[in-house]
């Protein structure tokens, strides 16, 4: 009897998760599809976003993401390699870095927004700009990237390291020819997760890359990311719902694609490790 009950509860919970997911997707599709067209994707917004499309918004989003990933990827990779391969020589520093990453991972995005505004926009004088937004997102994506890449490096079997050392391979060769290739899928998965998080980010961008919905001319221009655009249409623009939902549909589709790609990578990775 208790078994039956708990089975029903488990199925019920799983069903509710699925139902919530289906309802969300269904709602976004239902309200977003009427506004979605090729024209919507390739034209600039007009009338505060009520009319026109999201071309400049998509462009700004891509630029912000490119800055974020271009910064976070080398930094995250280097940090993960240091933590996994060299950090044990300076255990105290290693502890501090690990601690800092844990704290960073738990910081709410609104705090990143305020920090990004104070540091990148004001202190470094970058103002409201793609650069400020991208760098702020890089700080947010860093912990995920380091953790996932680090897990990938740690999953490399100890026998591989021993074999490499026993053959007289230098640490650099071991890292570049054996360990990093083995950890590459994890690095890609970490990058995708970071992109996913950055794409969905609103709070950190409002204070850093700003609201301007024109085509950005350079990375020093203020520009509006897709998530900020949705927020603005929903909260500040009466009559913006239709385009807001169409934008939301584009965002959800992008995030789903990234999720699928991450899963595919993770599966391929598990297969290659076994």
């Amino acid at each position: 009897m208790r078994d039956r009950l708990s089975a029903v509860a488990a199925w019920g919970a799983a069903g509710m998760v699925l139902a919530a997911f289906a309802w969300l997707i269904g709602d976004v599709l239902w309200r977003g599809l009427p506004g979605l067209s090729w024209q919507f994707l390739v034209s600039a917004p007009a009338d505060a976003g009520r009319a026109g499309g999201i071309a400049s918004i998509l462009l700004a989003t891509v630029w912000i993401l490119a800055i974020a990933i271009g910064t976070a990827l080398p930094l995250g990779l280097a940090t993960a390699v240091w933590l996994a391969e060299f950090g044990h020589r300076q255990p105290r520093l290693q502890g501090h870095v690990n601690h800092a990453l844990d704290v960073l991972a738990g910081v709410p995005s609104i705090v990143f927004g305020l920090f990004g505004n104070a540091f990148f926009a004001v202190t470094l004088g970058l103002g409201f700009s793609i650069l400020s937004g991208g760098l702020t997102l890089a700080c947010m994506a860093l912990p995920i990237l380091v953790r996932v890449t680090g897990a990938g490096l740690q999953a490399v079997p100890a026998e591989l390291r021993q074999g490499a050392a026993a053959c007289g391979l230098t640490q650099w060769t071991t890292l570049s020819r054996l360990l990093l290739p083995a950890a590459l899928p994890a690095l890609l998965a970490g990058t995708l997760l970071g992109i996913g998080r950055a794409l969905a980010e609103t709070a950190a961008l409002i204070f850093t890359s700003g609201y301007v919905d024109r085509y950005p001319g350079s990375v020093f221009d203020s520009a509006r990311a897709l998530s900020v655009h949705i927020y603005d249409l929903a909260m500040n623009v009466p009559g913006g719902e239709r385009n807001g939902y169409a934008s939301a549909l584009v965002l959800v589709a992008l995030i789903l694609c990234i999720n699928l790609a991450t899963h595919a990578l993770a599966r391929g990775w598990q297969r290659s490790m076994s």
Binding site: G163, A164, R177
Partner: protein, 270 residues
């Protein structure tokens, strides 16, 4: 012929050179002794079997010789260990050069997750052999030496992990001998292999007499008798492993001097 081998002596009765000498060698993990006070001299070109129950420090002993102990956090080695008269344990000694002179074969075959060719090519490049034709020559020779050449000749660029267990282990041996080492350390190299693959590896060791100095850990006493000319018996004493007896294999098995050896080789202990 190994590039490391020395000119043959012209004396009437050549005294075998000492390849390896351990004096009061002790290994500690986080302060706790795992192997204590080992004194052992190994002649160049000989095959020495290390036998004894699990946990008595045989792997720890091998790990000192190519300084794999450096990779283990909290591991501390004291005493002296010399390889052809050169000290192995001093910090200043060149680790990479040492590991090229001393090859190691592990219990679990551990080819790199690369192609068969790259498995040998990578260490050879690292060794400084720039010429591709020389690397190819060494690759072929090493694979012939381990009897793998015919089996893999048409799939050198296939992943090494696609090979069978016995083939993988022979590939690892080829990877080690391609660097022309003087000493080969083999830590239970056959324990994961079927009898057929085991026999193939024993044949290799037989063929190496005089060419490499081999130290082989084995739990298989019959194997120790078949392949070795000297046997070293390790045993746990006062909570740490130590060497209790060492001598020519035939004599040691026929007339063990130490009581634990007598029990062990008779199958009454261990």
């Amino acid at each position: 012929m190994s590039i490391h081998s020395l000119p043959t002596t012209t004396c009437a009765e050549p005294v075998p050179q000492t390849a390896l000498q351990a004096l009061d060698l002790t290994v500690r993990y986080r302060g706790r002794a795992a192997l204590r006070g080992v004194n052992l001299t190994v002649a160049d070109g000989s095959v020495t079997a290390l036998i004894g129950p699990s946990g008595c420090g045989k792997t720890s002993f091998l790990n000192c010789i190519n300084r794999m102990t450096d990779l283990i956090a909290g591991c501390e080695v004291s005493g002296t260990l010399s390889l052809f008269g050169e000290d192995v344990l001093t910090d200043g000694s060149n680790l990479l050069a040492l590991r090229r002179r001393v090859g190691m074969i592990f219990q679990r075959a551990n080819p790199f997750p690369l192609s068969i060719r790259r498995n040998l090519d990578l260490p050879l490049r690292e060794y400084g052999i720039r010429s591709a034709s020389e690397r190819a020559g060494r690759l072929e020779q090493a694979l012939r030496d381990v009897g793998l050449w015919r089996e893999v000749i048409d799939r050198l660029d296939d992943p090494a992990l696609a090979l069978s267990g016995g083939q993988r282990q022979r590939l690892c041996i080829a990877r080690a001998i391609a660097l022309e080492p003087q000493v080969l350390l083999m830590d239970e190299p056959c324990s994961g292999l079927d009898p057929h693959a085991t026999a193939a590896i024993e044949d290799l060791i037989h063929g190496w007499h005089g060419r490499y100095t081999v130290l082989i850990v084995t739990h298989n006493l019959a194997q120790a008798r078949r392949v070795s000319d000297h046997t070293a018996v390790f045993w746990l004493q006062d909570g740490a492993g130590t060497l209790v007896e060492h001598g020519p294999t035939g004599a040691l098995f026929a007339a063990p001097r130490h009581p634990v050896t007598a029990d062990y080789v008779a199958g009454r202990a261990g």
